[in-house]
Amino acid sequence: MKRFIISGILLLISITTCIAQSFYLEKSIKNLCYDMSVVKNDYENNNDTADSIAICFEHWEKSRKILSVFINHNQLEQISSKLTELQSFALSSDSEFELMSTINQVTHLGNELLDNERISFSGVF
């Protein structure tokens, strides 16, 4: 019975960790998508996007450090590298297409990451 209780406690800790991770991931991806929409708006309103991209990158790096404890590092690295690309596109004035495309890619990668971590039929199988 002692072993049963110990293993039950370990399972509960695991489940709690998974729930906490899901909430944190959801919050991080929501923030990322919001930051991307801010960058998009800034660009459309002819504001300077470099600042908003820098803030977005800063937010993401904070989240990434915690997320890397739970999530495959490759997936997080993909988003980070796209954000780095975004920073370079923001510096040049003739890369509208690349900038918008990268914003969409970051949003897509974030949502894909979220979908992969959700319990769903396609996710399980």
Partner: protein, 226 residues
């Protein structure tokens, strides 16, 4: 590269912990389910060691879940005969009164030579000597010989076994050090042991092994002199 060493140490401790929670059993004594879980745990633990992009916590959570499943199913198997049968199967009689049950053998996919080999490993060279041979759920063969081929016991010889020969021995000194748990168990005091050793011109550090049985009979093996 150092991260691999750290991860390996963490996962090694985790796997040992997991196996200890599941209970002690040798590979050969495992039920099919236990063997599957043990293989799965070792495989899962290897993934974060090999792939540094994989967070270690994914392995930890998987191992904990498997440990829980194993213990949960074994508790269920204890409570329900149907679950026990489903998980571990039934033992099967394959030799009865010196006759092989060929139907049972083919059902279990055991060949004649395989059966003979297992019997030979148990020092049985003639099937007709066997009263019952039962293939247990863990794959081991239990054999009961016919009475005329069984070894004689003390009871058969109508002899009386003395208490001395059957008394359990406790290790009280090992490699020059007291084993406190055993000393407590036997009710001896260190003073008494020291006196006993002194009488033999020995001290604790010069003793390789010292045992004591329930009848307070000591067995002392001094260390070899270098």
């Amino acid at each position: 590269m150092f991260i691999t060493i750290v991860r390996t140490i963490v996962l090694y401790i985790l796997v040992i912990f997991a196996i200890r929670i599941m209970g002690k059993r040798q590979i050969g004594d495992m039920q099919p389910g236990e063997l599957v879980i043990t293989i799965l745990i070792s495989e899962i633990a290897a993934i974060p060691i090999q792939d540094l992009n994989q967070p270690i916590i994914t392995g930890v959570i998987a191992v904990f879940t498997l440990v829980f499943l194993e213990i949960f199913i074994s508790v269920l198997a204890m409570k329900s005969i149907h679950i026990r049968r489903f998980m571990y199967g039934d033992s099967a009689i394959i030799i009865k009164n010196g006759t092989i049950d060929q139907k049972a053998l083919s059902k279990l996919r055991v060949t004649g030579p395989d059966l003979l080999e297992v019997l030979r490993n148990q020092q049985i060279f003639d099937i007709s000597e066997v009263a019952y041979a039962i293939l247990e759920t863990n794959g081991q063969l239990s054999v009961m010989l016919k009475p005329e081929y069984q070894n004689a016991t003390v009871k058969d010889l109508k002899s009386t076994a003395t208490q001395d020969t059957s008394a359990m021995q406790d290790l009280i000194i090992s490699d020059g050090k007291f084993i406190n748990d055993s000393i407590k168990k036997t009710g001896l005091s260190k003073q008494l042991i020291n006196n006993k050793l002194k009488a033999l011109d020995l001290n604790v550090k010069s003793v390789f092994i010292m045992t004591c049985d329930e009848n307070m009979k000591f067995n002392i093996i001094p260390k070899d002199k270098k």
